[in-house]
């Protein structure tokens, strides 16, 4: 139960022409995944872990500066982790192990470390994914996933999702405007009597639209495969640029475990 994803799929993208924007999507996908893996692999209870997190954050902020993604956009990306901030804040109270007193509260030391590191790790990887979404269009992500050999059926489902999310979202908004202009206020459980059928008719409209799209595609010669453009090639330099982020992060991690 997180916050809604207002604004549709296009809202995540920040148009630009920076070196980060120009990288092939599949190299960026690999880079962000590798970065997230390095962040997750950082040991929780090591004394130097906070320093490593600061190093990772610095790397991400450098990429953001190169990509000219504003801090406000990054901060808005962080909204999704709010429910987990609450969970992490509970950990010092419910964890076992030696206790320590902070401001008169008895807190678990390991819980403090775990809560803090969960928070840091989640924040870092949310920032990395936000950077990816801000510098790559949804269509580019799709192309990247296709290039990385995601099964064809999933790629096709994804492509329909990207194309029709705004259409169906628009229908949802029109239904909402219609409801509210009739005086509807969804404040209590009784609202379900109205919202349930609304969601039901949204499904019927979506499914019928799917049927129409399918027939239109069949009449244009659809055989179960979508034609795709030329395969994207990324040279060694493109890979080196993209992978500089996870490699630098890995260097921070290695430095920490050697020196710390």
């Amino acid at each position: 139960m997180g916050a809604g994803h207002g604004g549709g799929l296009a809202a995540a993208y920040v148009p630009g022409d920076s070196p980060v924007h120009r990288l092939e999507p599949h190299t960026k996908l690999v880079a962000v995944l590798a970065f997230a893996l390095v962040v997750v692999a950082t040991p929780v209870h090591a004394g130097w872990a906070p320093l490593a997190y600061a190093g990772f954050l610095l790397l991400l902020l450098t990429v953001a500066a190169v990509a000219r993604v504003r801090p406000g956009r990054l901060l808005r990306g962080l909204v999704v982790e709010v429910p987990f901030v609450l969970f992490a804040a509970l950990l010092p109270f419910v964890s076992r192990g030696p206790r320590t007193d902070v401001l008169g509260l008895s807190l678990s030391e390991s819980g403090l470390a775990a809560g803090g590191s969960i928070l840091a790790k989640a924040t870092l990887s949310v920032l990395a994914a936000t950077l990816l979404a801000a510098t790559t269009e949804a269509r580019g992500l799709l192309r990247g996933l296709e290039r990385l050999r995601l099964p064809t059926v999933l790629v096709q489902i994804l492509s329909f999702m990207i194309r029709y999310t705004d259409v169906v979202g628009g229908e949802l908004r029109r239904m909402q405007v219609a409801r509210e202009s009739r005086g509807f206020r969804g404040r209590h459980l009784g609202a379900l009597k109205v919202l349930g059928p609304a969601a039901g008719s949204l499904f019927i409209r979506s499914y019928e639209r799917g049927e129409r799209v399918h027939l239109a595609m069949l009449s244009r010669g659809y055989t179960g495969r979508l034609p795709s453009g030329p395969v994207a090639v990324a040279g060694g330099r493109a890979w080196a640029t993209a992978l500089s982020l996870p490699l630098a992060a890995a260097a921070v991690l290695a430095g920490g475990s050697l020196l710390g």
């Binding site: 997230a36 929780v44 999704v80 990887s125 999933l154 489902i157 999702m161 949802l172 059928p197």
Partner: protein, 236 residues
């Protein structure tokens, strides 16, 4: 309610990713029987529907609002395999475009919200459907109970994973009680919404509810005596 990065250690994340990959591979095979060659467009639009419905916030209590997870609902509407594919794609988009749910935790999220929620929700639905009378009420009741149980089941598996590969040393007892308690409430909302949506679809286009095919009776075409003289246009 998506698991972010850093919640579970690398081994557990890899394990759940393998489970998720196997489940999705099975679903890719299974979905062929459900939607034949129409798989992509229909499943795509169903995924859009699940995504859109997750944006619709329903009032719960005390001023908080919740939204549907939709696994059980999608399974009853389009069949469990297609539902797994739809939920997988929705989670993928949420992780990549909205950073909701970590990339390394994608396998965990697909396992929890896709495989476990749909497996439990649809399994309970099928079990109850076989026992309860084959009526609209029986169908809605089975789907409601399935949706209700799917949420705490996913929460329970999450606690299990957290116990296995969580980064904090917590007493599992109270955490289990709290998680399951909260998710029983959320499951109640999920059940109410699932039943409301299914009821609406059953009223308008019962043929679209895959889990309710057995309710559709073949209608015999027969001339009605009173309309014998009417024209074709009148006798719609």
């Amino acid at each position: 309610m998506h698991v972010p990065d850093g919640f579970l250690d690398a081994t557990t994340s890899t394990g759940t990713a393998a489970v998720a990959a196997a489940g999705v591979a099975l679903a890719l095979r299974g979905s062929r029987h459900e939607l034949d060659e129409r798989t992509a467009p229909m499943a795509g639009l169903t995924a859009v529907f699940v995504f859109a419905v997750q944006m619709m916030n329903f009032p719960v209590a005390f001023g908080t609002s919740g939204h549907l997870m939709g696994g059980a609902l999608a399974a009853v509407l389009v069949g469990p395999w297609t539902a797994v594919l739809c939920l997988t794609v929705v989670l993928l988009v949420q992780a990549l475009v909205f950073a909701d749910g970590g990339l390394t935790a994608l396998g965990t999220n697909v396992t929890l919200l896709g495989l476990v929620a749909i497996g439990v929700g649809y399994g309970v639905f099928r079990g109850l459907r076989a026992v309860l009378p084959a009526t609209r009420t029986g169908l809605l009741a089975s789907a409601g109970v399935g949706a209700f149980l799917s949420v705490p089941a996913a929460a329970l598996v999450f606690v299990g994973l957290f116990g296995l590969g969580g980064v904090a040393d917590v007493a599992l007892g109270p955490v289990t009680a709290a998680m399951v308690g909260v998710h029983l409430l959320i499951g109640l909302g999920e059940a109410v919404i699932t039943v409301a949506v299914l009821g609406a679809v059953l009223t308008v286009r019962p043929d679209l509810v895959r889990g309710g095919r057995h309710l559709l009776r073949a209608r015999e075409l027969a001339p009605r005596p009173g309309l014998a003289g009417a024209t074709a246009v009148d006798a719609r």
